[in-house]
């Protein structure tokens, strides 16, 4: 039977991992991910979850254990935040290059220095080019559903998936959510099956040194060099968007939730002004949009981006090209340039003839409070701004909520 619970986001993630029957858990505690790790070790110690818990000495080793377990044919799980994710960075590339179907929760937190335990997205954004699929949850229900779907996606496309959710805003707040029936999850998520499982019966040498050029194997069949292997990762990652939608369809039929797995629009049908955001902030913008519509008569909407890598280029261009103004609000940036999402989105729209005016906002870094009033005023101003601003002014990120 499915169950209605009111729990923290970290508990929601842990319960989803339990339902997904991950068999090897390796994690190193880091705020705000720690309660997720603790919950999993508690479930295992209490005999409620049948898995090996490996108390590793670092995040680098946490992902190493997952790499070993996944290569040896068992479904692993790990989770981290912030500097922990960065410490894993080498392993992220390794897992993706090795085409391992891993799932990891990243409880998003600002990156030091200076130390900050509070939320933003710089940790995940900084790892966007590792070859991992990156998805962002907006609420506790999405944490559960996305985690379950992530295991199936990773194992179908053989690309690791990072499930992101906001530190504190989601990880430590309590919200109601439905936990699906265990039997139904088993039917949705088949047993882990890795095509190149390490086995003495069928020995393979995985991730060996690969030359620049394609090379014949012992049977005289030409095999790709490094570049073919990497192109394959890219192409199959692009295809993962379709697979993710198919998985979501199936999930919706089984559990009754879903339908917007990549882009989740709110009041966008007739919108002239569209705000684009990732994570819990997209929910906060729903209030902003309501106010813009009700108080100011502005046809505003918010488009939550749930899949950041692969970047849904065509889908997002399709969703935004008819709007007049797009306001991209993000909790991270590519230092020295602008918001990473903003730059991606701008490049997605470039081939289309009707290009909306674009604004970029940086908000909530290091847990700086994101006040709905501030968002409302900034968005209202952007909606009303005529085209007098120079292209360079429009292209420069605005920082919301600065105190000096």
């Amino acid at each position: 039977m499915s169950e209605k619970l009111i729990e923290s986001g970290n508990s929601a993630a842990a319960l989803a991992v339990q339902l997904a029957a991950a068999e090897v858990i390796a994690a190193y505690p880091i705020t705000p991910q720690t309660p997720l790790t603790e919950k999993l070790s508690e479930l295992i110690a209490a005999g409620e979850m049948d898995a090996e818990y490996v108390a590793v000495e670092s995040e680098h080793s946490a992902l190493a254990v997952c790499i070993g377990a996944a290569s040896a044919g068992v479904r692993p799980f790990t989770a981290t935040s912030s500097n922990g994710l960065l410490y894993m960075s080498e392993q992220l590339h390794w897992a993706a290059g090795g085409r391992l179907p891993l799932v990891m929760c990243v409880v998003n937190r600002a990156v030091g220095a200076p130390w900050s335990v509070w939320n933003d997205h710089q940790d995940a954004i900084s790892q966007r080019d590792t070859g991992w699929i990156q998805i962002f949850a907006k609420d506790h229900q999405e944490i559960v559903d996305m985690t379950l779907k992530a295991f199936r996606l990773a194992e179908l496309v053989h690309i690791p998936v990072m499930v992101n959710y906001d530190g504190y805003y989601l990880s430590h707040t309590y919200m109601p959510f439905e936990l699906p029936d265990a039997e139904a999850v088993r039917a949705f998520l088949p047993e882990y099956d890795y095509k190149h499982t390490l086995s003495p019966e069928h020995p393979e040498s995985l991730n060996t040194v690969t030359l620049p050029d394609a090379r014949n194997d012992i049977n005289g069949v030409k095999q790709g060099g490094y570049m073919e292997i990497r192109q394959n990762l890219h192409l199959e990652m692009r295809q993962a968007m379709d697979v993710w939608e198919e998985i979501d369809d199936d999930f919706q039929q089984r559990f009754g939730r879903g339908g917007t797995p990549i882009l989740d629009p709110y009041r966008c049908e007739d919108a002239e002004f569209i705000i684009v955001a990732m994570g819990s902030m997209a929910n906060q913008f729903q209030d902003v949009v309501d106010r813009l519509r009700e108080s100011d008569g502005l046809k505003a909407g918010v488009l939550a981006l749930q899949m950041y890598r692969p970047f849904p280029t065509a889908r997002i261009a399709e969703a935004l090209q008819a709007a007049k103004v797009i306001m991209v609000c993000e909790k991270g940036l590519s230092y020295g340039n602008q918001g990473a999402l903003f730059a991606d989105l701008k490049s997605a729209l470039y081939p289309y003839p009707a290009r909306p005016r674009l604004h970029n906002y940086i908000v909530g870094l290091g847990g700086r409070e994101i006040r709905t009033d501030d968002l409302y005023l900034e968005m209202k101003q952007a909606c009303r701004q005529d085209d007098q601003a120079t292209p360079e002014q429009n292209d420069t990120p605005q920082w919301i909520g600065m105190q000096l």
Binding site: E57, V65, T208
Partner: protein, 303 residues
């Protein structure tokens, strides 16, 4: 201590687990260890290998010089990856040996954190460190186990100033299930220590001195002799630690009967890497060895 029947050249497994031909340098003693080591380990094994000479020796994609399943992993995480493979084997109820096989860089330097973690958890794996006493795969740079005075490309004129790390001692301080030292010049001793390691549950660590012609500056045909000389002059010792028992292995133990060991200079002069050593440094080195053997003669008196 766990007892294992001694293997000799007549009863050594004839079956080969490596293909003929590999990418090791000529005279490389790692290839001896690998070939003989696999005979002891048998087919029911999975290997975890970080970047090292072994990575190259095992072959370049899509061709392999080994018949064993191998997971190549990142430099710093050998023991952690092996932990993950072992956890998977445990989940599947398999006894398959998980063997981490790394160089001195991957073990003593960049990999020591993951190794320490696995040692503390006493993971049921065999961890082999083939110590050629510098970063040989990248072209002979100093490592934590490079001996004092040794010339490398990063200690090019006067040799390494610092002492080397004693990795087996560091490992033994974690109280793992089994610690052994080996020499590539005594491959059957290595073979039998692996047979023993297979019988023991928990972490088994085997540290092997592995002479390297381009790195040590010697003729290819001299590597086995140099390895033997390191033992005979009492510089590198073969022993095993199981529980709280330490036992010298035969090639080292038999030196206890000798009143005087060969001078370390005999070992040093066989290799160009030691040509920057001053007479004073050599005297110091000899005194250190002599002091060590004084304690050995007391500690292992009844043997």
């Amino acid at each position: 201590m766990t007892q294992i029947a001694k293997t000799n050249i007549l009863n050594l497994t004839e079956e080969e687990f490596v293909h003929p031909g590999n990418r090791a340098c000529s005279g490389c003693t790692l290839s001896i260890l690998y070939r003989i080591g696999l005979k002891a380990l048998g087919r029911d094994c999975i290997f975890v290998v970080p970047p090292s000479c072994l990575t190259v020796m095992q072959g370049l994609y899509p061709i392999s010089a080994t018949q064993m399943p191998v997971l190549n992993g990142t430099f710093a995480s050998t023991a952690a990856i092996a932990t993950g493979v072992r956890a998977a084997m445990k989940r599947r109820g398999k006894k398959t040996q998980v063997v981490a096989w790394a160089g001195d860089g991957g073990t003593a330097d960049i990999g020591i954190q993951a190794l320490s973690g696995a040692l503390e958890r006493n993971e049921d794996i065999i961890y082999i460190c083939y110590d050629n006493e510098a970063y040989m795969n990248t072209g002979v740079q100093r490592s934590g186990t490079t001996p004092q005075g040794g010339l490398t490309t990063t200690t090019p004129y006067d040799g390494k100033k610092e002492n080397s790390k004693n990795v087996p001692d560091i490992v033994a301080a974690h109280n793992p299930a089994y610690v052994a030292t080996c020499s590539a010049s005594y491959p059957l001793d290595f073979h039998d220590k692996l047979l023993k390691a297979k019988e023991i549950r928990g972490l088994k660590y085997i540290h092997i001195q592995t002479p390297c012609p381009p790195g040590w500056g010697c003729e290819e045909r001299m590597t086995v002799k140099i390895g033997k000389m390191a033992i005979e002059c009492g510089l590198f010792d073969l022993y095993e630690i199981e529980g709280d028992q330490k036992k010298l292995s035969e090639p080292t133990a038999k030196l206890l009967k000798k009143d005087k060991l060969r001078p370390v200079e005999d070992y040093l002069k066989m290799q160009t890497r030691f040509k920057a050593l001053s007479d004073e440094q050599i005297v110091n080195m000899q005194q250190k060895i002599d002091r060590k053997w004084e304690t050995y003669r007391q500690e292992f008196a009844e043997e």
